[in-house]
Symmetry: C2
Subunit: 253 residues, 2 copies
């Protein structure tokens, strides 16, 4: 038996998130079916974490155990075989490696990095539709960076947590929020990078939604601190839409 770690890239638009659920298309179901088709075994994959409906990934991680008889299977052959059965879905296994039996995609994950993409200009995107959140008003980048600082470190993130979040504790630690800006015609392409050990339900999307309020100067940077300290979801900003969010990377020790 071999334990494999795989890295999965996907466009989330047509899926009800990563995790298997009854009667709806999910990334997990698609990948499991593709593995089953090539190896004729009833394989379950364990993902590093859920992603919500519509959220994309460049670096979702998962593991599974495979019996493959006498023959050894290379990582390239494995990826190729799974990808052949995933076609034409917008899901690709971009990396595979054999890992020790103790490896666990979920419990072994040390850091998760998400990216959120915002198109900031007066007119909607012809090329980034479904890949980026369109914000018409010019966003003040310095103000957003100043507001983001209040969220770094360990905090009670109740104000940034979906009311349906099932985590037992609202305490989370955010290691980094980077805001990178690429000029485009009449505006900016803005990429938020948010890194932490783990996140609450909608936490990254609520952070981005809140920071855009600061960017639009409806909030002052210090209002982020006030919202955080309120420990009340109704005091946080709006939830940015799913289609701007990318699970970028899962780091293991």
């Amino acid at each position: 038996m071999t334990r494999w770690k795989i890295i999965i890239e996907y466009h989330g638009a047509r899926y009800s998130g990563f995790q298997r659920q009854p009667d709806v298309p999910t990334i997990q179901v698609a990948v499991e079916e593709a593995i089953q088709k090539f190896c004729q075994q009833d394989i379950k994959i364990i993902g590093a974490g859920r992603t919500d409906a519509g959220v994309h990934a460049r670096g979702q991680a998962a593991h599974f155990d495979l019996e493959y008889g006498e023959r050894t299977l290379s990582a390239f052959e494995l990826c190729k075989a799974i990808n052949a059965h995933l076609r034409p879905q917008p899901i690709t296994v971009v990396h595979a490696q054999e890992v020790p039996e103790e490896f666990h995609a979920r419990f072994g994950a040390k850091t998760k990095t998400y990216q959120y993409r915002v198109a900031n200009r007066p007119y909607k995107m012809a090329l980034e539709e479904g890949f980026s959140w369109w914000r018409k008003k010019p966003l003040n980048i310095d103000a957003m960076r100043a507001g983001a600082k209040y969220l770094i470190g360990e905090h009670d993130f109740t104000s940034f947590r979906d009311s349906e979040c099932q985590a037992t504790s609202p305490i989370r630690s955010v290691d980094e929020i980077m805001i990178a800006v690429t000029p485009i015609i009449n505006g900016n392409d803005i990429l938020f990078t948010v890194r932490g050990m783990s996140f609450l339900h909608h936490q990254v999307r609520n952070i981005v939604g809140t920071l855009t309020l600061v960017g639009e100067e409806k909030w002052k940077p210090e209002d982020v601190k006030t919202a955080l300290e309120a420990k009340d979801r109704t005091k946080g900003g709006p939830t940015a839409p799913a289609y701007g969010l990318y699970l970028h990377d899962i780091a293991y020790e």
Copy 2:
């Protein structure tokens, strides 16, 4: 009468190129119809240049003349009105400005910049399908850069010109070919930027197709020089597909 310069962004997949042709959808037709709908005038736009079927643009330029009675119209109002009538097509007017009557989008264009995007890794893209050309074999970037150097300057580009090209002369001047590399999981996202006064039919796509042969080490960098000097299209490399190409910018004096 006011002459307007507009900058147009579009995803080219569903269009038979920029220029009006009978009985097929083109970008020009879509933009003219949108302008006509809001101003009730039979407006013709003059584009800076054609783009082929399937080619995208971030910075196509065009001009047209508009009578708008007593009322003055702001650039923002103009863009908004055209874009409202373009919806839901993947075409957006991202900039507009009043220009002198002598301004001509085609004859006044000094430099054109195209970008070509290549996804270089063993497995196909889940997120960049239709936006980037997938090349499986690892491309040697230094070799491609060395090969590109032979194309800089004024040359007879017959070997890089489509057999149906209608230009009277095959002489063109390429000012710059930049090759930027962004690492992705298991590969690279490669962006070619090609700048010149004007280009022959398929010239940029043939340059990229040829340089990928050098990147795959099927050709040596010097073979690009040999191909160029042959002045024979059959000695050039293949034509890279339309969906990786972006008309990036048109510069005016």
